[in-house]
């Protein structure tokens, strides 16, 4: 039962069907990218285009926008809600939603404030307690969803109110707790940036990792008699990414440099991306989001997958809350309220994670939150009121969802998932 391979001509195993057009070489890579975009498989193209437009507009209105110091502040602000958006990507992947991430983040900051400042716990222990609480809340949603069939939309909406109530309760009459300046946590959220050599080294890592894994795959595919992707394309991509990242880092290093907090966020996004694309768990998440019954019949423990998605989302929300408390040096009644919830969800959707489940990427949280925070930062620089900021952010979210829906329709008519 060996595969029927070409007798003498070394025909690659996956190139035997003569009816299929295969794009080869560099030109082919570009052409197949254009084909994908035309059929509605947009990937992160809309967000990149959107980002260019937003930055151009704000820079023309106020040149300070693209100054190195403003962008460093932008990265500090991105990290807190960005971590929450990472969790939202998890629940959106399985086709569910968590509307309570803002409240959970606010309650987590309240826990840290109370336990650490008021009760005198070690700060690490207080953070662990906050994260554990997040995981607990997520597990509760999963329990309601798996056992009682409660739609996540409703259970998390109930959670939004209940957790907000708990936050107000433990903050009590004082209403806010100031975290001590000079402590490691507050420094991490406000001051700590990477030394120049560290940031330049880290910026070289993505390119190197791509190169190593790309060459390894190249060798293995050739040994296995499968077609190999264009090597020139790989090298060009690696070069572009490395040069691009190094230039960005060099520019940001002109002022304070890259925040460690942003480094943590990017590290988490990279870890989540690996987990979602290269592990069995990630494959199961995508399958459950795409076709729940098919996943069940393939033997996947669907309930466990939902549990992991909800628990991870709330844990990320709690971590985002801790980072936000560090950023503001306080745990207040306002923490996690207002637009935190919708900014996190909007970031994931704008970045290209589908609301319909089964499609998404951890990097969509990264790209999306940069868009959201760019709008916020730009409007703040223009001295516009928050009323206008809400309206514009709302419009951007609506556009993102429209693009998602249209792309989905186009994919369906072009025979892509």
């Amino acid at each position: 039962m060996t595969p029927e391979q070409g007798t003498s001509a070394p025909m690659a195993l996956d190139r035997a069907d003569v009816r299929v057009k295969h794009q080869t070489g560099l030109g082919g890579a570009v052409r197949s990218f254009l084909d994908r975009v035309r059929s509605g498989d947009l990937g992160s193209l809309p967000v990149v285009v959107g980002l260019v437009v937003i930055w151009t507009v704000f820079t023309s209105l106020n040149p300070v926008f693209v100054s190195s110091s403003n962008l460093v502040n932008l990265l500090f602000d991105c990290s807190t809600v960005g971590v929450i958006a990472l969790g939202i990507v998890c629940v959106l992947m399985v086709g569910e939603i968590d509307l309570s991430v803002g409240s959970v983040s606010g309650f987590a900051s309240a826990i840290v404030g109370t336990l650490w400042v008021n009760q005198g716990w070690p700060v690490a222990l207080a953070i662990v307690a906050a994260l554990a609480f997040g995981a607990l809340i997520g597990s509760l949603y999963a329990l309601l969803f798996n056992r009682l069939g409660m739609p996540s939309f409703v259970s998390t909406l109930a959670g939004l109110l209940a957790v907000l109530g708990m936050q107000l309760y433990i903050l009590g009459s004082t209403g806010s707790i100031n975290l001590p300046y000079g402590s490691a946590l507050v420094d991490f959220g406000q001051l700590m940036v990477m030394p120049k050599w560290v940031s330049h080294t880290l910026a070289a890592i993505p390119g190197l990792a791509m190169l190593v894994s790309g060459l390894r795959t190249f060798a293995r595919r050739r040994a296995a008699n499968l077609s190999t992707p264009s090597a020139t394309g790989l090298i060009l991509r690696v070069a572009a990414i490395t040069v691009g990242l190094e230039l960005i880092v060099a520019y940001l290093n002109q002022s304070r440099g890259i925040p460690w907090m942003f480094g943590l966020f990017v590290g988490l996004a990279a870890a989540m991306n690996y987990a979602l694309t290269r592990t069995k768990w990630g494959r199961s998440m995508t399958a459950v989001g795409g076709n729940r019954e098919a996943a069940r019949r393939a033997g996947i423990k669907v309930r466990a997958i939902y549990l992991s998605a909800f628990a991870l989302c709330s844990t990320f929300a709690a971590l985002g809350g801790v980072l936000a408390a560090a950023r503001l040096a306080s745990a207040s009644q306002q923490a996690g309220t207002g637009d935190v919830n919708l900014n996190a969800i909007a970031a994931a959707v704008i970045g290209g994670t589908s609301l319909f489940g089964g499609r998404g990427s951890a990097y969509s949280a990264l790209l999306g939150i940069i868009v959201i925070q760019s709008i916020a930062s730009g409007l703040t620089l223009l001295d516009l009121s928050s009323s206008l900021r809400y309206m514009i952010t709302g419009a951007v979210l609506a556009i993102a969802v429209i693009v998602d829906s249209l792309a989905r329709r186009s994919r369906a008519s072009h025979g892509r998932a």
């Binding site: 195993l13 996956d14 299929v20 494959r283 399958a287 019949r297 998932a417």
Partner: protein, 278 residues
Amino acid sequence: MSESPETSVSVGELVLSLRGISKHFGAVSALTDIDFDVHAGEVVALVGDNGAGKSTLVKILAGVHQPSSGTINFRGSEVTLPDPRAALTLGIATVFQDLALCENLDVVANIFLGNELSPLRLDEVAMEMRAWTLLNELSARIPSVREAVASLSGGQRQTVAIARSLLLEPKLILLDEPTAALGVAQTAEVLNLIDRVRARGLGVVMISHNMEDVRAVADRIVVLRLGRNNGVFDPDASNQDLVSAITGASNNAVSRRAERLRAHRDSADSGQAKEQRQ
């Protein structure tokens, strides 16, 4: 698929034995008191009209539904199938009528869904190779295993679903309408495949509405009607017997009228047409 027939079941041994299986959905009895046997190296065709309970029976064996009563014996011991994973672990693979594929995943991911190689660092190259091997065994016409299943035609999806069922070296394969969406050549390939699977000593249960396909490969034909056993036939049984058992028409006004008309036709006369109009 390894070359060596690693199955420990000797040919002819009873692989699967159902006794008194019933399944109720609320007030509806989908299955009543079904007895069903499959031996190793045997192809059993399961036929019946729409609503006869064929797919329900297959879903019970796949662990999708649980029987309301009755016992399932698999390879000599009584088993329960609380979920699809249990059935897969025992060695019962199923190709469902609706195929149960994830359209947003590519062909390789669908074939290996739930059984990925090296869970913490997916071995895409090995999985893609194995996928091509399985698909080539089925003489599949799949343009690319890296395309999402959404871009495949019905027949191509069928082939992917069958390839997936073979991945785990099952002891018993359940095929729910395996040839319904296939072209002439692919139908022949699937029937060839069923022959090959039988030759390796596996039990095969095949649901089909196509009597030609059923006769081509089946060793026994089990008829269900309205959720009950309605006879077991050899593949050389007459079409009339089979159709009667399927429709339940062997013993009623419709069948008697059909027989009378046939008798008239045999004595072919010019006055026959007038007689039939009466």
